[in-house]
C-alpha cells in the first residue's frame, strides 16, 4: 500500500465518472459472488452516512463528473427518500456537471410507477434493468425474485416515463440451453423495445450456491462450443435488430451506449464510493476500497481512507490495459494514440502479431487503429495475450 495520507485527485482535465456501490439486496441470488448484504434500514442509514463522508474526502481533489452510476447490489431497493438524500448529498459535496447523466441499476420488482417517476425526477435517465431473462423458467432457475411479467412491465413503464435509455441485463449459457431457446429470448427482449442489452454468460463461482451444486456434480456450465454458438447467435440476432456490439457483452442502438461504462474501457478517470469500489486517477494510480461493508464503514467513521489496496501503474501497464480493453470494443484502439499517450512502443513490437491476427480474421486494421471482428471479440482475452507492450 502506498504511503498516502489523503486520496488522490483527478490528474487529468477530463471529467470523471462517479460510481456508487449500493451493497444491499433483498435476498442473495444463488450464482452471485458480489459483496452484498440483505441488511435492513439501520445498516443502510449507516452506509448513507459513510458514503457522504467518503465523498467529502475527495471534495478538494479537483474531481469533476459528468456521469454518475448507481450500481450494486440493488440500488433500486433503496427507499426513495434515502436515495434522494444520497444524490443531493453528492451534488452538494462534489462538483457534478449539471448535464451529467445518471445511471441506475433497477430490479424489476422495485419498478413501480411511483418509484420510476421519483427516479426520473431525481435525474436518472439510464435504466439498467436486471431482467436476466424474459422466461419464468429461467428466472426461477436463477433464483430471481421477479416474474417475466414484472420484467416486461418494468421496461414498459420505464419507457413510458421517458427514460432516455432502457437497458436489459440478460444471462445466457445456462445448462441445457440451446440456440433456438436463446434466440427466442433475445427476440422477446428486443420486442420490449429496449435500447441497450448487456449479455453475460453464466459463470459459476466457487463459494456460491451454484458453486456448491457444481462441486456436487448436479450443475455444469454449458460446454465451450455451445457457449460460442450462443455468443455468435447473440451478435447475429442483435445486429439484425439494429444493435451494435460496441463491447464484448454490450449491445446498443445508435446513441444509446453506456457513457459511464465506456469510461472504464477508455482509460478515463473514475471514482468509486462504497465498499469494494474502484477508482482511477487517469494517469498512474488505481485504488480500491475495502470490500466488506463493516470494514469500509469503520475506516470512514474513524476518519481514515477506507483503502483496501492501490496500484501504481507503469506506462507499459497502462498501455497494455488500454490495448486489452480496446480489443473488447468495436471501436478498437488507436495504437499510435496509445504510443503517444503513454510513450511506449506498441506498433513495432507487434507487427507480426497484428499481421497474423488479421490473416486469421480476428481483427481489422484501419490506419493505426485495430478493431476486433465479431470472432475476435469472442476471443478478446486471447488476442490481448498475443501482444507485447
Amino acid at each position: 500500500m502506498p504511503e498516502t495520507g489523503f486520496p488522490p485527485g483527478n490528474e487529468t482535465e477530463v471529467p470523471a465518472g462517479l460510481y456508487i456501490h449500493v451493497p444491499f439486496c433483498s435476498s442473495v441470488c444463488p450464482y452471485c459472488d458480489f459483496a452484498v448484504t440483505i441488511a435492513g434500514e439501520d445498516r443502510r442509514a449507516a452506509w448513507q452516512k459513510a458514503l457522504h463522508a467518503e465523498a467529502l474526502m475527495y471534495a478538494d481533489g479537483g474531481w469533476a463528473f459528468d456521469t454518475v452510476y448507481f450500481g450494486g447490489g440493488t440500488p433500486s431497493i433503496l427507499d426513495l427518500e434515502r436515495l434522494a438524500d444520497v444524490v443531493n448529498g453528492l451534488r452538494s459535496a462534489l462538483c457534478i456537471n449539471e448535464k451529467a447523466r445518471y445511471f441506475l441499476e433497477i430490479n424489476p420488482e422495485d419498478a413501480s410507477i411511483r418509484r420510476i417517476r421519483a427516479w426520473s425526477d431525481l435525474g436518472f435517465t439510464f435504466a439498467s434493468v436486471g431482467l436476466q431473462s424474459p422466461d419464468d423458467g429461467v428466472l426461477h432457475f436463477l433464483g430471481r425474485r421477479h416474474s417475466a411479467e414484472q420484467g416486461r412491465l418494468a421496461i414498459e413503464r420505464l419507457k413510458e416515463e421517458h427514460f432516455r435509455t432502457v437497458s436489459a441485463d440478460l444471462i445466457f449459457g445456462l445448462p441445457g440451453q440451446g440456440p433456438s431457446d436463446w434466440r427466442r429470448q433475445l427476440e422477446a427482449v428486443i420486442q420490449m423495445g429496449v435500447d441497450h442489452i448487456s449479455c453475460y454468460q453464466l459463470t459459476i463461482h466457487d463459494g456460491t450456491i451454484f458453486g456448491r451444486r457444481r462441486r456436487a456434480g448436479v450443475l455444469r456450465e454449458a460446454p465451450d462450443d455451445i457457449q460460442a454458438d450462443l455468443y455468435e447467435l447473440t451478435h447475429a440476432v442483435l445486429a439484425d435488430a439494429g444493435f451494435e456490439a460496441y463491447e464484448v457483452s454490450n449491445f446498443a442502438r445508435p446513441g444509446h451506449r453506456s457513457k459511464h461504462n465506456q469510461k472504464y474501457w477508455k482509460g478515463v478517470p473514475y471514482l468509486g464510493f462504497g465498499p469494494g469500489a474502484h477508482s482511477f486517477d487517469g494517469t498512474s494510480r488505481r485504488w480500491w476500497n475495502r470490500g466488506k461493508l463493516r470494514l469500509w464503514q469503520r475506516d470512514i467513521e474513524k476518519g481514515r481512507w477506507p483503502l483496501e489496496d492501490a496500484e501504481d501503474l507503469a506506462a507499459a501497464d497502462l498501455a497494455f490495459e488500454v490495448l486489452m480493453l480496446g480489443l473488447r470494443q468495436s471501436d478498437g484502439v488507436d495504437l499510435k494514440a496509445v504510443e503517444c499517450r503513454w510513450g511506449v512502443a506498441v506498433i513495432d513490437p507487434n507487427r507480426l502479431v497484428i499481421e497474423r491476427l488479421v490473416d486469421n480474421g480476428l481483427i481489422t486494421v484501419l490506419g493505426t487503429r485495430i478493431q476486433p471482428t465479431m470472432r475476435g471479440m469472442a476471443v478478446a482475452d486471447g488476442l490481448a495475450r498475443e501482444f507485447e507492450v
Partner: protein, 598 residues
C-alpha cells in the same frame, strides 16, 4: 601409509551399500548423532527422493582397530544401477580394495557380477560381504554357494552383517584393515594425483577430488594438469569428511580435495593427472576408458535466451558427471541446443532433472534415440543417432540397431503378460527360469529402441510394480528402420522426429498425433498435426480453433485484476515453443513419450 585403506563398496542396486556406509561412518564417529540421517552420503535431493545412489561419494574416516592402531579409511560408496556404472569405474581407479556386498535374500545378481569383474580388472582386493542377514528370507548358505560358484571367491572370507540392524559392522571394519592392502607409492617421488571426480563451487571454482599416487601436493604449490597442460597454483587441499576439512598437504596414498582457483571448467578432465611444475612426473596415471553412450537426445532450453545458461550448466554438470557427453545441435523448430549422449534412460532422466533443478533451467528433450549403424549402397558405414541426419533411404543398403539382453525378475504370476510385452517389443529368444519358488527371471533379446519408448511404465503397470528390469548390451542386428516426422500446420517439429521400425511407424505416428492433440491448447486457428514418412502422411489429427475466450465482465472498473490475470497467462505462454505459428507447451513434448494419458 601403512595405516591407510582406500576402498569402495560395490554391489547390485539396493543391496545396502549406502546403509552399510552409514554404519561404518557412525562406528568411526564420522558424524555427530544429531546430524545423522539414513543414507547420509546420498546428499543430492534426487538421490533422497528416489532412494538410490546416483553419484559415488567419498568420505575419510578414522578407525581404531583391534590391533590398537588408528587407520585412515577412505570409503567410496558407489551406485548400483547399470546406468551409473561409470561412477563405479571411476571410483575403482583410486582404490586398493572393494567390499562386494551381496543381499542375503536376493543373492548374486547381474550388477554383482559386472561390478566384481570391474574390480578384478582394476586389480583390487575383494572382500565379499553378505548383508541383510536380519531378513527372515535371508539364505546365507545359498548365497555363500553363489559367491563360491558364480563369483569364484573364497566363501571362507565372507563377512556377515546387517547394515540396517548394525550387526557385524566391526567384522567388516576388521576385514577392511586386515584383508585389504595399504596403498603403495612414493611420498618423496614426483607428484602424481589422479583426478577422479569434481564438483563446481560458485565461490571457489572447481573442487577436484584426487587420489595421490606418488609425491605430495600442498597449498601454494604450482601444479600442472598433464593432459591439458594448463598450470595452476594450489589454493587449498584437504580431506573429505562430511564437509571439506582443510589440511596442510596430501601425500601418497591420500584421498582428498584440491582447490586451485579454476573457474574455467573446460580446463579439467576427469581422469587427468596433476603433477608438480617443479619435479614433474614422467607420465600420467592411466586414465579411464570413456563410457559409451547408448541413448541420445537433444536438449533445448524452453526459452531460447537461456541457451547460454544451458551451455554453462552442461559444462559444470559434466565436471560432476563425466559420463555425460554433448555437442552443439540446432533444430529448425527449437533453435540452438545440444545433442547429448547418455548411458541409459535413467541417466538421461537424472541429467535432465539435475540441469533443471541445480541450474534452474526449463528444458525440452527430443525423442530419445539409439545409435544405428547404417551401411550405404557404396559400402560406407555411418553411425546415426540423430534423425535429423538420417540419410536418404535411397542411398541406404542396410541398417542395424543395437540389441540388448533384457532381464526381468518378477513373481511368476506375471509371466504371461510380460512375455506378451516382450513379444510386442520385438523380443527374440524370450525364455525364463525359476530363481526360487514363485520367482522367475525372464530374459529376452530385444532392440534397445523398444525399451526407450515407455517400456518401464508398461512393465511397472503389468507387474503391479513387482517386476525389476535390467539389461546389458548385446550386439547389432539388421532392422528395417524408417524416419517418422511430425508436422504441425505443415511445419516439421524436428525434435519429435524419430527412427522406428517400419511395423511400428504408423501406430507411433498415430500416438504422437493423438497426444499432441490432447496437450496442445486450442489456438485462434485450426491446427493440423500429421505424421509422415518421406512426405507421405501416415497419421493425422486436428485441433479446432477456440471460439470463445473472453471474460464477460470487467466489473466496475476492476481492471487491475484483469490485466494481472492476462499477464500471468502471458508468462505461461513463455513456457511454450513456437513452431511456425503454433504454440507447443513443454508438456506436449513429455506426453508423447508416454502411452497412457494418465
Amino acid at each position: 601409509m601403512k595405516r591407510i585403506r582406500t576402498f569402495c563398496i560395490i554391489a547390485h542396486i539396493d543391496h545396502g551399500k549406502s546403509t552399510l556406509a552409514d554404519r561404518l561412518i557412525q562406528h568411526c564417529g564420522g558424524v555427530e548423532d544429531r546430524d545423522f540421517r539414513d543414507q547420509i552420503l546420498d546428499s543430492m535431493d534426487l538421490e533422497r527422493e528416489r532412494g538410490i545412489t546416483i553419484k559415488s561419494n567419498t568420505i575419510s574416516l578414522d578407525y581404531e582397530a583391534k590391533d590398537g592402531e588408528t587407520y585412515q579409511l577412505n570409503l567410496i560408496d558407489t551406485p548400483g544401477h547399470v546406468d551409473f556404472s561409470h561412477e563405479v569405474r571411476r571410483s575403482l581407479m583410486s582404490c586398493e580394495g572393494a567390499l562386494l556386498l551381496v543381499d542375503a535374500s536376493q543373492g548374486v545378481e547381474a550388477q554383482t557380477m559386472a561390478n566384481m569383474y570391474l574390480a578384478i580388472e582394476h586389480d583390487l582386493e575383494i572382500v565379499p560381504v553378505i548383508n541383510k542377514i536380519d531378513l527372515p528370507s535371508a539364505d546365507i548358505e545359498r548365497v555363500k554357494e553363489e559367491i563360491e560358484e558364480d563369483l569364484g571367491l573364497d566363501s571362507d572370507e565372507v563377512v556377515l552383517c546387517s547394515a540396517k540392524v548394525g550387526t557385524g559392522i566391526q567384522d567388516v571394519l576388521e576385514a577392511i584393515v586386515n584383508q585389504l592392502p595399504p596403498p603403495e607409492g612414493d611420498p618423496d617421488g614426483p607428484l602424481q594425483a589422479l583426478i577422479f571426480d569434481a564438483q563446481y563451487d560458485a565461490y571457489r571454482g572447481a573442487v577436484l577430488l584426487v587420489r595421490v599416487m606418488n609425491g605430495e601436493i600442498r597449498a601454494g604449490q604450482r601444479v600442472r594438469f598433464m593432459h591439458t597442460g594448463v598450470e595452476h597454483q594450489v589454493e587449498e587441499v584437504g580431506l573429505l569428511k562430511l564437509e571439506r576439512v582443510k589440511s596442510e598437504s596430501l601425500s601418497a596414498g591420500a584421498v582428498g580435495y584440491v582447490i586451485a582457483g579454476i573457474k574455467s571448467v573446460s580446463e579439467i578432465n576427469i581422469g587427468d593427472t596433476i603433477t608438480g611444475v617443479e619435479m614433474p612426473a614422467e607420465e600420467a596415471v592411466p586414465g579411464y576408458r570413456e563410457s559409451k553412450p547408448v541413448v541420445f537426445s537433444s536438449v533445448y532450453p524452453m526459452a531460447s535466451d537461456e541457451y547460454l545458461e544451458l551451455t554453462k550448466a552442461l559444462e559444470k554438470l559434466k565436471l560432476n558427471d563425466a559420463a555425460l557427453i554433448y555437442e552443439k545441435d540446432s533444430s529448425q523448430a527449437l533453435g540452438f541446443g545440444y545433442r547429448c549422449g547418455f548411458l541409459g534412460l535413467l541417466h538421461l532422466e537424472i541429467v535432465q532433472q539435475r540441469l533443471e533443478r541445480e541450474y534452474d533451467l526449463s528444458l525440452l528433450l527430443s525423442a530419445p534415440s539409439v545409435r544405428y549403424r547404417v551401411t550405404m549402397t557404396d559400402g560406407e558405414k555411418r553411425w546415426v543417432d540423430n534423425p535429423s541426419i538420417y540419410p536418404d533411404p535411397g542411398s541406404i543398403d542396410t541398417v542395424e540397431e543395437p540389441f540388448i539382453k533384457a532381464s526381468v525378475m518378477m513373481p511368476d504370476r506375471y509371466i504371461g503378460t510380460v512375455m506378451e510385452l516382450c513379444r510386442d517389443r520385438r523380443g527374440e529368444n524370450t525364455s525364463f527360469n525359476y530363481l526360487s519358488v514363485g520367482r522367475v527371471e525372464l530374459t529376452s533379446e530385444m532392440p534397445l529402441a523398444e525399451v526407450l519408448f515407455d517400456f518401464y511404465d508398461r512393465l511397472k503397470s503389468t507387474t503391479q510394480g513387482y517386476g525389476s528390469f535390467d539389461y546389458e548390451m548385446l550386439d547389432y542386428r539388421e532392422t528395417d528402420a524408417v524416419k517418422v516426422e511430425i508436422l504441425v500446420n505443415s511445419e516439421p517439429v524436428d525434435p519429435l522426429a524419430q527412427l522406428v521400425h517400419r511395423d511400428k511407424a504408423r501406430p507411433r505416428a498415430l500416438h504422437y498425433c493423438d497426444r499432441l492433440k490432447e496437450t496442445i491448447p486450442k489456438q485462434q486457428f485450426k491446427i493440423a498435426i500429421q505424421g509422415t514418412i518421406g512426405g507421405n502422411v501416415i497419421a493425422r489429427s486436428t485441433i479446432n480453433a477456440y471460439r470463445k475466450d473472453v471474460t464477460a465482465k470487467c466489473y466496475g472498473g476492476d481492471i487491475s485484476r484483469k490485466r494481472k490475470l492476462l499477464e500471468k497467462q502471458k508468462k505461461g505462454k513463455k513456457r511454450m515453443k513456437m513452431v511456425g505459428n503454433v504454440e507447443i507447451p513443454q508438456a506436449a513434448f513429455i506426453a508423447v513419450l508416454k502411452t497412457d494419458s494418465d
